[in-house]
Symmetry: D2
Subunit: 294 residues, 4 copies
């Protein structure tokens, strides 16, 4: 795949709220600095983890602009610009580009199920509206839409700047097909945390993970072992991280990552209701897991 | 079940747009008058059919206010007030009550999967905020959340004004359990069009349907046959309607109902992108089906 | 549908075993007499309930022959002749016909998933081998094969003596399609106990049920109410039976029906291992449910 | 895991039939010799691939005895002894042990769904009946029973000679849990062909595969690359094999492997009806895939 492609550990930011439920952009800066200091290869604001779907348009814009400014070119920035309407995605994609995003990420979310032609047109609209690359994001668990490998490749073929694919279904066979059918030339990224070892084994260019807020060094260690072909080291690193990866997947990312940051001394507030903060038993379990990793 | 409960055919409005994609409230009035003239027993604006999820807050408010005003007490009005955040639902529920809604309908929609406690708290928040009844709405196909019968009854038990349940999973066994476990005292409503016959057979208080925009007289005929225990008439009426009910379910309600209204001479514009208007082949098929019904 | 079609309550026999695990054909006779005395409209030996899949070839033959002989033409007999191999089904179908069966029932069971052509050929082989009608049986929960309505109608069209369809998926929409696409001319039978009310509402010709071993009078009452179009009576009868119907579905038919017969004073032995007899808590619950029905 | 555990490539035999549909034990010998010559680490007769479920008791016994005799201790032999009844499994397990099998494999197949206690008792019965190790086999796609990791570990804990687990669900997370919860001490084997790379990455002791009838050298190459930690070589080997692995999975193993052996000059007859031989288009596709591998 092309040398300039984004690769490695792509850390997903949470969106911190203050006690009144408003944005806490200073805390956002802190979480960004933590990940850059730890060595992540790219940062992705406003994704699923970033509660992008729960923000008002003004809040979304403020977080996008601040994130790009704080990162300030030190690593690539992939801004999630998903919205229920095509018009909304186009508006957000243009804003992200204007702030200086390296790329944007688009998950087709929809209340009403979409036909394939509707999804292709959705990507065409956003692709045409901007000049930076688009990362196609497939995650039916949060979006209700499951794009087949056929559909993904159709979109990649028909929209010039859709050049990367983030696969979060957790089905390794999808990655196999993406690899086989493009002779390994299409960069794909894993968004299912407990699949990190196998995704790298199957040739994933990167791992999109909110875990980098808490254990970026471990995430990077796994990536480096896999990249340099040291399978046993990769396996050992993976199984050490797996209890945490399972925990954040099952518990929900905003809830568990926010609790983990609080445990780590970086208060970032609660998720937005109806999502509640992690309860006491969950926090105790998370603390215990984190202690095994440091 | 209580005499005063809403019953019969509850017609769901679409939300008309003009050529620029803005609201067309005069067309909304027309669709409301059509259903009232045809004899529906209640009207429900801003549900799934009404593209409530695709509207801005200002648009949502305008449609809610206008709908209640146009209906003007001639039939009960159930306004859908669903939103991704609890704060948003509370805001909309208060607005609907202030406009004069008979009841509100709440579908827990969420990007991140919710735990049962979070769903209960969501209903408690809205229940406490208003004085009118709440219709709980279960429809995982559009919301991504499937509430079990256990959870539904827990909510009904713990929130005083949650007094009605709309079941749209299409699983008749859920209705059986709702009936059995409340001795038939909890009014439940069917939201799965091709289940209309069986839902009435199983004791449903009503049928929530967007089909009433197109074939309200048939919908009412089925209800009356079932209500008066004439099974053979109900069956004959149902099978006559079934091709249309299947068609609108598979095609998506806003898309097919808007096309059907256009065919009937009531132009209401296109759905919001990424949902496209019904294509030509679909329109031809829909016209053919509608002709068999008139 | 044709006047001569089998209709009403089709009682499924269990296969009684003695203390050593061998066949107890005298007990089989008792269970058959009970159902005939109660007024069932047909009897079906060796189905899922009859543990046909767990018998040796000699045992299967003995039960088939004895059942037909005991029934002795008093009601139609539908013998289940399913087997993993096509050769086995043909052999059993010929045996059943030679004993005097009114019809045979065939469920395509397979270890390896079958393609549609293979299933069609399977039915063609058995259809050609015998002169009596074949009831096609669809039940993926036990067979691992789910036949679509398209496939079922293709088989009905291509095999002359496949003239009846037993649908046990519990999906009422399948029955709707069978009805719509044959103008109500293809007799279909319901094999999902908790769907009995709705299947009759949708026009099912009969109800295939092992419950007739325990509550045949109630089963018949529901059928008669539905047949004569008395919807409210049918609903009341159904909801009274529903706790039992749910219990036997969830518990497994051989296990629960054998326990129920034992409670009723007709000892029929245990199911074959690995299926165990109903445990004590289950027996207590079953006794309590049965008491509400008498 | 223990040094003596079976590891590497475990080749699954097909069961050859002659033109009359009877056993062809000479052809069976040929297929066994091919795999031993190619260097497989163990051989497994009468599994899913071996159509064990479609054989009469006499046929099953003949194949079991002949397989062990032909292999003659050159590699370990794991005989599949699954049967619908517990009595049948015990009988087959004892026979296999008496013939000299290294181990037996047990898949709980059942017509009626089994409760967990029933499955545990099933394994206890067979474990107690024999002195050789038992490989637990989980494959709901063919058996209709899906054993959770909890249940598998409960069986491993409660039956001394259940010492190996074959996981064929294709869900890599099951393997992760088996590894994590036994500190990597329980040997697990992959039975899902297109998961071979990732299963080895996750620490699988072996790969149970019918592909070894056709491309044993490639299978072994992948195993050796993974065993010695050469991730890039393993990935390259895997993607070269993947089209074949996908093809045999989707086409069904007896059908496709028998066709592949025929293409390779080893006629082994057709599968038993209702499973048909691979059709012409399938044979052409299989030939084309095999040519890329030699």
């Amino acid at each position: 795949m092309p040398d300039h492609a984004i690769h490695g550990i792509i850390g997903y930011t949470i969106t911190p709220f203050d006690d009144e439920g408003g944005l806490d952009l200073n805390a956002l800066d802190l979480t960004i600095e933590r990940m850059i200091d730890a060595g992540v290869h790219a940062i992705a604001p406003l994704g699923s983890t970033g509660e992008g779907a729960y923000l008002s348009e003004e809040e979304w814009t403020a977080v996008a602009e601040r994130s790009v400014k704080t990162i300030n070119g030190r690593v690539p920035v992939i801004v999630s610009v998903s919205d229920l309407t095509t018009a909304g995605v186009v508006r957000r994609a243009r804003a992200a580009e204007s702030f200086g995003a390296t790329a944007v990420m688009v998950l087709p979310t929809s209340y009403w199920k979409l036909q394939e032609d509707e999804i292709v047109a959705h990507y065409q609209a956003v692709g045409k509206a901007i000049g930076v690359p688009v990362m196609l994001y497939n995650n039916h668990a949060v979006s209700g839409i499951d794009m087949s490998v056929d559909l993904i490749l159709r979109i990649v073929d028909s929209v010039d700047n859709v050049t990367m694919v983030k696969e979060s279904t957790g089905d390794i066979q999808r990655m196999h097909q993406l690899y086989l059918r493009t002779d390994g030339q299409l960069p794909f990224y894993n968004g299912c945390n407990p699949l990190a070892l196998e995704a790298f084994a199957a040739g994933a260019a990167g791992w999109c993970t909110a875990a980098a807020n808490l254990i970026a060094a471990d995430n990077i260690e796994l990536y480096e072992a896999a990249r340099t072909g040291r399978l046993k080291d990769a396996r050992a690193s993976f199984f050490r991280q797996l209890p945490l990866l399972d925990f954040i997947l099952k518990g929900g990312l905003p809830k568990t990552i926010k609790a983990g940051l609080d445990i780590a001394g970086v208060p970032v507030g609660a998720p937005r209701l109806p999502v509640k903060p992690l309860d006491e038993a969950g926090r105790a379990r998370l603390s215990a897991i984190l202690e095994t990793l440091n």
